[in-house]
């Protein structure tokens, strides 16, 4: 499972990089989304995927049972997902405004109009 998730994160990252290198701004956004997902998955996988039960302390116990998953990477990934959502929402609006102002989503065209 650990290896499968790691390879998946790598694949997502590779596809993200490929999309970012295209000239289309929409593909740029999609690439950033995939890269963000890859990073979140890597963060999640980093804590280890060996746990079998939810990280809740039983009523009679003082600490977590050994079989539970590590909650910290999950909390970190959750935070990162929320931040990533906000950032991508902004980037999508930005691309839409650029498209409306310039009339194309070709990043090279956007730069040329600047001159």
């Amino acid at each position: 499972m650990f290896i499968a998730l790691s390879i998946l994160a790598g694949l997502l990252f590779a596809v993200g990089v490929f999309l970012i290198l295209r000239r289309s701004l929409v593909k740029l956004i999609l690439g950033l989304v995939l890269m963000g997902h890859a990073a979140n998955l890597a963060l999640f996988t980093a804590g280890g995927v060996h746990g079998t039960s939810a990280p809740l302390v039983a009523e009679t116990e003082k600490q977590l049972a050994g079989s539970s998953a590590d909650p910290i990477p999950q909390a970190l990934a959750l935070t990162a997902i929320v931040i990533g959502f906000a950032v991508v929402a902004f980037a999508a609006v930005l691309v839409k405004r650029v498209y409306r102002a310039v009339g194309t989503d070709d990043s090279a065209e956007v730069g040329r109009i600047n001159e």
């Binding site: 890269m35 980093a46 935070t79 906000a86 950032v87 956007v110």
Partner: protein
């Protein structure tokens, strides 16, 4: 109440207040102006008390230390907080007097407040993931500030800025995950001994995680060869925004590098060596690109890159053999950063005034300002000569400290690069002076109005700060060396 918490709460509350006053622009400006100056005063109080040996700390939710996310203030953070306060207070004052409509958008002040809160958080946090969160908050507010005004030029710059910085954030996040995977903690003080232990067994692993972090921070700091986003985006927004960005944002990246490699990771010799090379390349290439530009703000943007090269040399000293060399290098780096932040922000603000006086910042379309307004010319000369490193201004002391450290460390290549870059800095400052201030223009610009005079107030304030640093360099230099000692955990 803990003053450290207040440093963070003040700008956050200010952001909320200014959102509540969206429809009453005058009141919003009055409240924000007061809060920005109050934040500066608070930072100075914190710096003075930290310099006297007081330690400020705060653990979220009162959890015990390695479990809680803690905020900690040491000397380097306190110094940078004060400079942030200076730039924000000066910059916001300028924006009120600036006729540029983009500075009078209702959303301008809340975003600037949020940026101030996020930078404060990044400087005082003691948790690696928390640092990532503050970085993201900083990015988010800077994205919107950069596009405020919605001109085509801003859109083009913002696309570069957004895309590059998001890639850097992804690298940062993955590196944080890897740190947690090997050390099972993210608290900076807790990480040091654990990473040192791991590095003894598996040096390659720690080095690769460090390199990934360095990559993320180098993009944010605009190091060679990852600086192309900076000159593409910084000249586009309003004068205040580019001034604050140029002074502040790249330096937060360098601070993160100093913090992470100076006090979290064990000394990584390969990485330090790489930073010395990259720093040398950055200062040369940045300044060479600046010399051929023909627009004031583009010249200044490439200078930001070049100066970042000087500052990042400090990271190259962290794993030096002798303790003295480490402290000398990192101390010089802190001094240089402070000098540079004040001077660079001031120059960008002056660029904004030049635009208001002559209607352009292209060198070919400006001229003759020295005759119309000798005061403006004099105020330009202070930061410009300081940037070029002319004695006795602050840039000279910053360069002197850097050269002293480089000579003690025996880094010949970096010394040569720094000297050559310094020469070209003088040339490009002279270029602005000759074209914009000294030359007789075909159409003499109209006399500066009262509004322009008012814009000179914050510029004059920052110039006074530069003069203070110039004539009392020992004061800051001593604190910088002490900050380096406490950052690196050594004693001279």
């Amino acid at each position: 109440m803990n003053l450290l918490a207040l440093a963070l709460v003040l700008p956050l509350v200010g952001g909320l207040l200014s959102l509540a006053l969206l429809k009453k622009l005058i009141w919003q400006q009055v409240v924000c102006l007061l809060l920005f100056w109050a934040h500066l005063a608070l930072s100075i109080v914190l710096l003075v008390s930290t310099a006297q040996g007081e330690s400020w700390q705060l653990s979220m939710g009162s959890w015990p230390v390695p479990i809680a996310i803690s905020l900690r203030l040491d000397l380097i953070s306190a110094i940078l907080l004060v400079v942030t306060g200076l730039l924000m207070a000066g910059g916001y004052t300028f924006s009120i007097f600036d006729p540029d409509k983009r500075s009078h958008r209702p959303m301008f002040a809340p975003l600037l407040m949020l940026l101030s809160a996020a930078t404060t958080g990044a400087f005082i946090t003691s948790d690696l993931f928390n640092l990532f969160v503050w970085f993201e908050l900083m990015l988010m507010s800077s994205f919107v500030l950069m596009t405020l005004g919605e001109t085509r030029k801003q859109f083009d710059g913002a696309m570069h800025y957004v895309a590059t910085n998001l890639v850097s954030s992804a690298f940062f996040l993955i590196a944080v995950g890897m740190v947690y995977a090997v050390a099972h903690t993210l608290d900076m003080n807790d990480l040091r001994p654990k990473l040192t232990l791991i590095a003894e067994k598996r040096p390659g692993l720690v080095l690769s995680i460090g390199t990934l972090l360095a990559l993320a921070f180098s993009i944010k700091a605009a190091l060679f060869p990852l600086f192309a986003w900076l000159p593409a985006s910084y000249p586009a927004p309003s004068a205040t925004v580019s001034a604050i960005f140029a002074g502040l944002l790249t330096k937060v990246g360098i601070y993160a590098m100093l913090r992470v490699f100076g006090s979290v990771f064990p000394p990584l010799a390969e990485l330090s060596q790489a930073m010395l090379w990259l720093g040398s390349a950055t200062m040369l290439i940045g300044v060479l690109a600046a010399v051929i530009q023909t627009e004031i703000r583009r010249i200044l943007s490439f200078h930001v890159v070049s100066q970042v090269g000087y500052i990042v040399l400090g990271v190259g000293f962290i794993s030096a053999e002798s303790v003295e060399v480490r402290v000398l290098g990192v101390g010089a780096c802190i001094f240089y950063a402070v000098h540079h932040m004040v001077v660079k922000t001031n120059l960008f603000l002056l660029g904004g005034i030049v635009y208001q006086v002559s209607g352009s910042t292209r060198l070919s379309e400006t001229g003759g300002i020295a005759r119309v307004s000798p005061m403006l010319a004099a105020l330009f000369l202070i930061p410009a000569l300081s940037l070029a490193g002319i004695p006795p201004l602050s840039g000279f002391w910053a360069k002197l400290a850097t050269f002293k450290a480089l000579v003690t460390h025996g880094q010949v290549v970096a010394i040569v690069c720094a000297a050559v870059a310094g020469l070209f800095t003088i040339i490009s400052m002279l270029k602005i002076w000759n074209a914009t201030f000294a030359r007789t223009a075909e159409t003499t610009p109209p006399l500066p109005s009262k509004q322009v005079f008012r814009m000179l107030l914050p510029v004059g304030f920052l110039a006074v700060v530069t003069l203070l640093l110039s004539f009392q360099p020992d004061l800051l230099l001593e604190i910088s060396y002490r900050a380096a000692e406490s950052l690196l955990g050594v004693k001279l």
